[in-house]
Symmetry: C2
Subunit: 307 residues, 2 copies
């Protein structure tokens, strides 16, 4: 099965307690596509500048990712700069240079028309809705958003929420979106606004999927996947997008989308997130094997299962 | 099997977003013993003042708890007053009147000499060590502590750590105790100082048990239990002590202490914590049935298990 991700490809300059890196390959679509590439055929729609090299693009191509949807525009590639302190759950943004990403107009190549699954990474909800409208035949749509759109574009976001099947956000975003400080209550308020399921990512504590009653052949009971207690989180950048890539990628690898598949997708999402943070940037996601992934899946099972 | 808890019995005056209560029955030993009473024979060593009524004591006696170890001293009972805001994970202490608890000298009645399991609730580590020394024949010792002792009495706490088998604390306490902001690293530093296992409570995200390699017939792999996503947390007071009561109580109900038992104990701890916060004070813990407990255990299993 094929999956299309629309989102940012970027360069990241970052500092963590373990070191620093200048202008390394990053961006939500990059982390997502590398992560999903271990499960499904991945296609990318994004925009990069003239400073984006063939070597950069080869990182994706080497994983079999279809990069024909990456537009090359005049100007510089999106550049994010940030720092992580002792608490790796919180990034301090030092600068955000949108560059060519500021005028990003997603264009879907006709070769992508037969795509089965769609993931709308964190971009302007107007663009997310437009892409979704252009991809009427996909079987399932996942989406992400952030505080900036929640507070700045509530009406456009509301339209987008009605068009995604599964929304993936973090605790703070879920509470902000619902205007409710109780996470389970916030989750169900978000579900009333459109998505059939909501994945809330808790950082080092894992993630929970909440369901609208009756959707995906089941009731209201949520499901929780742990995160792996890792001694050393070298670089948390992209952990959420790697989670989304594993989650959506695993779904795309399966014949149908039901509770059984979604529970396993939560585990595979956590597995990919745990690999991502072990090294800087996308390094770890470039060189995995499916055996390593399934081995870690077993570790997650041992971490949570009674028998 | 029998289990003895040594700790505080108190009155709590508290306010949460759901209401307020004046001088209701509380204290670590109270929550612990009520919670553990669904699994084992519970004995309590504590001190109360002249304002502690027969009706107060009947709350414990009605659950079959042996209260012969409760000393009645001249003066008032320990009185804690606090408030919870929108974030139920953080209590704001308004006042702490130690009263008779300030001069608490745990005295173990001879009738308690045959006790099988011991839990040292959060009191002065010097007293914890003294009680532990007086109970040489117990099969397993659990213990709690808090930031106040971690920063104020590091040497006495170190002695106590060498005498407990399983320490139960929260994330902040574990990181402070180890002087390390990475939880898994902090956990293993704590384990090097004495305990064979460490339970770290994450509030609404559940709890993780870390093991010293080889202890309890297993390796270094941790195990994580979730917390139940509850729409309404009416009163978080005592959640950690209720967890400890379910955890230690379940262990005491089993023939031996191995990984299988400890994993289930983590779930039963979470189950009892989830009941405790549903109503104010100890109300919910007074009126449970074992059927309700096992029913919720199943919900926890569904929340985490793939099949």
């Amino acid at each position: 099965m094929s999956i299309l991700v629309v989102g940012s490809v970027a360069f990241d300059t970052l500092k963590t307690p373990y070191g620093e890196r200048q202008k390394i390959l990053g961006g939500a679509a990059t982390y997502f596509s590398l992560s999903a590439s271990y499960f499904a055929d991945v296609r990318v729609v994004a925009v990069v500048g003239t400073d984006f090299t063939a070597e950069n693009e080869a990182v994706m191509k080497n994983r079999g990712i279809d990069t024909r949807g990456i537009q090359h525009a005049k100007g510089k590639t999106f550049h994010w700069s940030g720092e992580y302190g002792e608490n790796v759950n919180e990034a301090k943004t030092l600068s955000t240079e949108l560059n060519v990403f500021e005028k990003f107009e997603p264009y879907i190549p006709t070769e992508y028309d037969d795509t089965d699954f769609l993931f709308l990474a964190n971009i302007d909800p107007v663009l997310q809705t437009r892409v979704r409208d252009a991809m009427q035949n996909v079987r399932l749509v996942g989406g992400d958003t952030m505080n900036y759109w929640i507070s700045g574009q509530p009406e456009n976001l509301d339209k987008m929420l009605k068009r995604v099947d599964i929304l993936l956000i973090n605790d703070g975003e879920a509470k902000m979106l619902a205007g409710d400080n109780s996470l389970p209550r916030a989750a169900h308020k978000v579900l009333e606004r459109g998505p059939r399921a909501l994945v809330v990512k808790h950082g080092e504590y894992g993630a929970t999927i909440f369901f609208r009653d009756g959707e995906f052949a089941g009731g209201r009971h949520p499901f929780r996947a742990p995160a792996l207690p890792l001694d050393e989180v070298r670089d948390p950048t992209g952990a959420g997008d790697s989670f989304a890539g594993g989650f959506m990628g695993y779904i795309a690898s399966q014949g149908e989308v039901n509770r059984r598949v979604l529970k396993r997708a939560m585990f595979y999402g956590s597995v990919m997130g745990s690999f991502s943070v072990e090294r800087f940037g996308t390094e770890r996601l470039q060189s995995l094997t499916r055996e390593e992934i399934d081995e870690r899946f077993k570790v997650f099972r041992e971490l949570t299962h009674l028998d």
